[in-house]
């Protein structure tokens, strides 16, 4: 027999109590994991941002366009490897509730985003056709789209029906890549704008995505781009892609802070649940601890015994919570798709960092819950523990 066997046997001594405590911890871990997953999903765009990509937009506001001519000028600037024009298109499919991100992008765009993996033959087919489009895997699944399907979108910014043929379905190279987007040729949009609204409305770009050399300083290049268009009729604001995405997320910053606070409160609740169990357990076992001390077991043995028992329960709760979280996150991700809400959380999955954080929380709570009972057992006089003073 080893001491850890005694630890495990002690943890399972009151099966119902231990099971209920583990269930309580499991539910708290579920809540913690779910909140962290929502926060991660909120920041998915920021996390997916590359350090060597800048976004250039109109300095006044994102809704004001930039001239198409900037693309060539920016592309020629030092340390700039590529520049791509894109417009937020704001169309929907069949019904307004079928909202998703759709962009008119020029031919450079996909090469700047290597994380969107598209088979070469699909890429070739896309570039060959004027009204071709590329859609993300999740978006295709959401609407049951397949390769070569004809799709009609209804424009809200450039109004009217827009017909496309799906020539590519991309997949994310990593889990954080957004697979719910829709890209089509910027020229296709520009031609129609010119046709419907005249030359004055054409050749306007919503924003540029600029790929810079890996060794380049993003801040310096941003300053250089903005300085170049200083006092022009369309001044620019250039920032890293991460800062650009952060700008959207920060609008809901207070909610995120509140959620973070709730996740910390949840950890505190776990602590209370387990600390209560461990305190009860230790109180019941004071005589046993006294006997062990009598037999020669030292304070470190008792600390190990109580801490180990607390950890076994906490980790049991963690495993249960992880299984629950995995199921609930998968279910919630499916719900987001069926409820047409995946555009708000394009990447909704249990991340390794959330699992690690939950594990750390469980271990920390397990250890913290053992502090008081362990301290009591160490401080207890053996004679008091044996209840015999005569």
């Amino acid at each position: 027999m080893k001491i850890f066997k005694l630890v495990f046997k002690n943890a399972m001594r009151h099966k119902l109590r231990s099971a209920l405590t583990m269930l309580g911890i499991g539910v708290a871990i579920l809540l913690f994991g779910l909140i962290r997953t929502i926060i991660s999903a909120w920041y998915a765009g920021v996390e997916a941002s590359a350090q060597n990509r800048l976004v250039v937009r109109n300095a006044v506001s994102l809704i004001f366009p930039l001239p198409l001519a900037y693309r060539e000028q920016i592309g020629k600037m030092p340390n700039v490897e590529n520049a791509s024009a894109a417009n937020w298109f704001g169309a929907y499919y069949q019904d307004q509730k079928n909202f998703f991100a759709n962009f008119a992008t020029d031919d450079n765009y996909l090469s700047i985003y290597p994380e969107y993996r598209l088979p070469p033959e699909q890429k070739e087919a896309y570039f060959r056709e004027r009204n071709a489009c590329v859609v993300g895997r999740k978006l295709a699944e959401r609407f049951g789209w397949k390769l070569n399907d004809a799709v009609r979108l209804t424009g809200t910014i450039v109004q009217g029906d827009w017909d496309f043929v799906i020539r590519g379905i991309y997949e994310g190279a990593q889990p954080t890549a957004d697979e719910t987007q829709f890209f089509f040729h910027w020229e296709y949009m520009n031609e129609r704008v010119r046709q419907d609204f005249g030359d004055g409305a054409a050749d306007n770009v919503g924003f540029y995505v600029v790929q810079i050399a890996k060794s380049a300083n993003p801040a310096q290049i941003s300053e250089m781009v903005d300085a170049n268009y200083k006092n022009s009729y369309a001044e620019t604001k250039t920032e890293t892609e991460s800062a650009f995405q952060q700008g959207f997320v920060s609008m809901s910053g207070t909610i995120i802070v509140a959620m973070r606070v709730v996740s910390i409160v949840v950890v505190f609740i776990i602590l209370l649940v387990l600390a209560n169990t461990m305190a009860m357990t230790a109180r019941e076992r004071m005589t046993e601890y006294a006997v062990m001390k009598t037999l020669g077991f030292r304070p470190l043995h008792l600390i190990g015994l109580i801490g180990g028992e607390s950890l076994v329960i906490a980790l049991g709760g963690f495993v249960l919570g992880l299984l629950l979280t995995n199921q609930v996150v998968s279910g919630f991700a499916s719900f987001l798709v069926t409820a047409n809400l995946s555009a708000f959380f394009p990447v909704f999955e249990l991340k390794n960092s959330t699992i690690t954080l939950s594990f750390i929380a469980a271990v920390a709570v397990g250890l913290a819950s053992a502090i008081f009972p362990a301290w009591r057992s160490v401080k207890m006089r053996i004679a008091d523990g044996l209840h015999r003073i005569g």
């Binding site: 006997v291 009598t294 077991f297 030292r298 053996i382 004679a383 015999r388 003073i389």
Partner: protein, 224 residues
């Protein structure tokens, strides 16, 4: 002149209850020769368990010295005392105090986990101890599956498994029926006579005391 294994010199001990100081032992002196079977008797509150605890190193006197097996236990630190107890003292309690989640075998093995014995050696020691108390066939039983007498025999096996210098027993028959009590006393007698173990036993039971070589009475904190 016999070799004294226990020497208690001018030991006093009192407890505090709130602001009240309750004297339990006053200037006690006691010598126990090696191989002795000593019974300590006395009414409740006379201080016999306290004296036993002091000799066994699980409590400390206010004054005086206690030497057991040439070690002055009153000078040892808490951690030194823990090591010392594991090496020199085997404990038998009134209520057996076995770990309910461990089998008889595992309960007896418990003190050996503190030693450097190999698993094979531990197994040998445990089986020998259980055979001495005639419980070889119950080694896989949990305490709740054993009678009171059997549980006390497991506790005795646990007390002797590390081959201690001294066995202390606090009312070992206090929770047992007459038959079981006789069995336990016979076993203690055998440990003393056959295995030459020094035993100090606290008891209320006159029949138990009769098994001892020597009986000392405590009354109001004094040996009489």
């Amino acid at each position: 002149m016999p070799n004294h294994i226990v020497a208690v010199n001018e030991v006093s001990k009192s407890y505090r209850r709130d602001s009240l100081k309750i004297p339990v032992l006053e200037n006690i002196g006691l010598s126990v020769p090696e191989g002795e079977f000593l019974a300590l008797m006395g009414p409740s509150g006379s201080g016999k368990t306290t004296l036993l605890n002091l000799i066994a190193g699980i409590d400390r006197p206010d004054s005086g010295t206690i030497t057991v097996a040439n070690d002055e236990v009153t000078r040892l630190s808490e951690s030194q005392l823990a090591v010392w107890r594991a090496r020199h003292v085997g404990f038998i309690f009134q209520f057996y105090n076995l770990m309910p989640v461990l089998t008889a075998y595992e309960n007896v093995e418990l003190p050996l986990l503190l030693t450097k014995l190999s698993k094979k050696d531990r197994d040998e020691h445990v089986k020998t101890a259980l055979s001495v108390v005639s419980l070889s066939d119950r080694m896989k039983h949990y305490p709740k599956q054993l009678s009171g007498g059997q549980q006390q025999r497991v506790a005795i096996a646990r007390a002797i498994v590390a081959d201690p210098t001294l066995i202390v027993a606090d009312e070992p028959t206090g929770d047992l029926d007459k038959t079981s009590a006789v069995e336990i006393l016979t076993l203690l007698e055998r440990l003393n006579q056959e295995f030459k173990k020094t035993i100090i036993m606290v008891t209320h039971d006159q029949r138990a005391a009769e098994k001892a070589h020597k009986v000392r009475h405590l009354d109001k904190g004094e040996l009489v």
